[in-house]
Symmetry: C2
């Protein structure tokens, strides 16, 4: 069994050295870091377009709106800036980042690269349990597709990609992918996150390649898969604005 797996949700690893006592729920329920709550709230507001690109974010305004002081807001701004959500101009405050067409393309290219690599690594390191789990996730998605449960479909899609990433067992790669994925989901509204049944057929093909241990084929399939998603989402909303 691999060492630091199944820890993809939290921050960068190295926090989990405790051997046994970890199953209790509550990864970050300690003193409820206020800055994290503010950060999450703002990300949600940005993704949901409640805060539009280019909009100015006043510290005091947000502080009062969220019922906290300015300091947690400032610290949240720092994190938002480092993850590319806002541009922070000194002496002028924070502005919601305005994504360029080209920047969106760049982001998707990187996403394709990272996803393909994760598939390659997965094919090299998968175990039988991994394959079983993948098929299980695939089944969940397929059933969700049958009843047109969009929420479940999006969730299953994300879970499957995340698990492939986990099999790769590269925390740095996982972390970068998590960052990139969130921004992708912002630029291209999550509507087209699942693009019908063909996507799940591709997923099945991907799982088979991983099960066979065929690294090149797995990477290639994932590349095409992600690239196809790019095309769909891009053509769907690109020409609009």
């Amino acid at each position: 069994m691999r060492d630091g797996r199944k820890s993809s949700a939290g921050v960068t690893a190295a926090a989990d050295k405790s051997a046994g006592i970890r199953a209790v729920r509550g990864p970050v329920a300690r003193p409820a870091p206020l800055r994290q709550a503010v950060f999450d709230a703002l990300v949600e507001l940005i993704i949901s377009r409640s805060l539009k690109p280019g909009e100015h974010l006043g510290e005091g305004e947000l502080a009062e709106m969220l019922g906290v002081s300015r300091q947690p807001v400032r610290e949240a701004f720092q994190q938002l800036h480092s993850e590319g959500w806002v541009d922070l101009r000194p002496g002028q405050g924070a502005f919601v980042h305005s994504p360029t067409e080209k920047e969106a393309d760049d982001l998707l290219a990187v996403r394709t690269l990272l996803e393909a690599e994760s598939a390659r690594r997965a094919a090299a390191q998968r175990t039988d349990e991994d394959i079983a789990h993948l098929w299980q996730l695939w089944d969940t998605g397929k059933k969700a597709l049958a009843v047109q449960d969009l929420e479940q479909m999006v969730g299953a899609n994300a879970a499957l990609h995340a698990y492939v990433m986990d099999i790769g067992d590269n925390t740095v790669l996982t972390e970068l992918s998590r960052l990139v994925d969130r921004r992708v989901r912002w630029y291209f509204t999550p509507v087209a996150a699942s693009r019908g049944s063909s996507s799940w057929d591709e997923h099945a093909e991907l799982i088979r390649a991983i099960a066979d241990g065929d690294q090149d084929r797995a990477a290639s399939i994932m590349r095409d898969h992600t690239e196809r998603t790019r095309r769909v989402t891009h053509d769907a909303q690109g020409p609009e604005e």
Copy 2:
């Protein structure tokens, strides 16, 4: 068509950390954001091993040491955390990140991936001026090698890789690579950053591949090149600690 190129090609110089911040020219000459100075100072201290992995960083302590209040220190911690330099545990403060052997390997694998992709993109989009510039940088490094000017060699090496990255013209890729590179330079002390003449021969081969527009060959050469650097640095200091 490249728009936003010619951006930062040089090394990530962090020279301003003194009390008097009066940068006449420079990217950020506005009011000299204090948090950035603190951030740079701390990165320098971490890379130079003045702050050892696992060490606890007291806010007040550092604040007094740097002659500022705790707030800029806290904001610098945020940035340090998001770039993987420190682990931030709520209610407990900041600790210098302890890199695992595996984590270092993961980081280098990602670096290889990103560099190879940059080479591929460079081969696809290079112009004649780019090639000329690359040869110019190569020449600088070669001359530095002849006189054994280590500083110049490291600089030329970084500049060449950075320019290849710039040719690729993908801001997201560039940004991620910058992040990864800094941490690589931390884990593996910059001693072996240039590993003699063979490295420059490989660089020459890389430039030729880029000039020919041979994407696969350029990516392959860069992959081998980075991988070879990994081996050298890893074997050199891996068994020590």
